[in-house]
Symmetry: none
Subunit: 141 residues, 4 copies
């Protein structure tokens, strides 16, 4: 039997709050998705003005980051033409996201969940996702 | 009427055992999928720590290798931009995998099934898939 | 943060072994799927002669039992015409199974995974799934 | 290693010819699908006037009959409200057909493929599918 640590819903709210604060600061309304460590949705918010397409993309970024235990951005470089993971972007019915904005949430070396952002540029999405994680880690003291 | 040779469940277990031994040796927990020659699932194991996203990808690598009678790695080069099979990675709802790690199992020139690995680098996935085949062929004497 | 207990791969093998032994006893080759508590595939075996359609159905029975924390059979009665869950069988792209044969694996009140069987009658599928669980619990002493 | 018998393309043409002759006789243009024993498409013809929706349904009837080794009609009765397989019609993304018109092709007790018809009433579909099998068996002497 394995013992797994997983974000709870209060953790998920804190992650969203951190990401949303940064999104408001840079003036980009975002879709923000939090999944557990198995990539299953825990919480989601579409800020007023967030993109419709991003409701799916944010979820899939978080799913990918949790399931593969790595940032979606890292898949972006690994899947360039000529690179080893080329073509993986269409795997799992296209759910495997290789665009930046999905980050695993890691505690003591364990992936306990993930956060995925979408609606801005991939750099903005990543910036806000990281802000969510930073805020979460700060509240843990 | 055609006569087809196909892996049985005992063959599938041997293939998994060989792949798992190599995965343990290199220290990478893997998802390991075995399909028959028609790409239908015969056996699967997710080693403790194997990636969630790889549960699907390993199966689809084996499906592709069996169905297309070639390694998924060979599709990787054939599907580069400008190459004839460019874009084929999103075929069949994204099930056609062009990332290395799926190998057909060939006996006397016939594809009798396939093995697909995922969770490591594509090179590690291929290494362990090949170890499964080597172990299987060795047990056949 | 939550702490979750989950079947490991050795547990999954024991569950399969128990189900397979019963399937052999009653002479019905089965597809046997084990998922973790999140419904993600851990292990699978198609016994020689198991049905092709059952490779998917067994997995989806386990997914449903884990994800909904109840037997698929219980959904069968709850989804009859006029009943509250009528029509739920086509939910999640048809993955939500209401045919008997999927059982959650419960330890100390927690769902830690699930087992799904398919190829026999729903009663046979359930019988063998239960045998897998009985064998697993017996090995835990 | 298993040895499997499977329809070849010439067998598939004979099955279609038999079904088509009956369809012409009763004046119903049909979609006719032949799969191998794993449910993978071998041959298909849409007679002039056959229904568009039936191009998919005929294939899925044959897939179901091959994969589950039984007629789709038998699933129709087994999946009525209150019956054990109630709700199975939406399994496998809705591919599992419980409407009559899909028959396994059986030689010496082995399922070697299947035939699926659609465009008429389920009774007409079954009649023509059976005519295909009768014609096929007659040509084998």
């Amino acid at each position: 039997m394995l013992t797994i640590r997983r974000l709870d819903i209060e953790d998920a709210r804190i992650l969203i709050a951190g990401a949303r604060a940064k999104a408001e600061e840079i003036g980009v309304p975002m879709c923000i998705a939090i999944t557990d460590e198995s990539g299953q949705l825990l919480a989601f918010e579409r800020m007023d003005g967030g993109k419709i397409t991003s409701t799916i993309i944010a979820q899939d970024k978080a799913y990918t980051a949790a399931g593969a235990k790595r940032t979606t951005e890292s898949y972006g470089s690994a899947s360039q033409p000529g690179s080893p993971a080329y073509g993986i972007n269409s795997a799992i019915g296209g759910r495997l996201m290789v665009v930046a904005g999905g980050l695993p949430v890691i505690i003591d070396g364990d992936v306990v969940g993930a956060i995925g952002l979408s609606s801005g540029t991939p750099a903005q999405d990543t910036q806000c996702a990281q802000a969510g994680i930073d805020h979460f880690l700060a509240t843990r003291g």
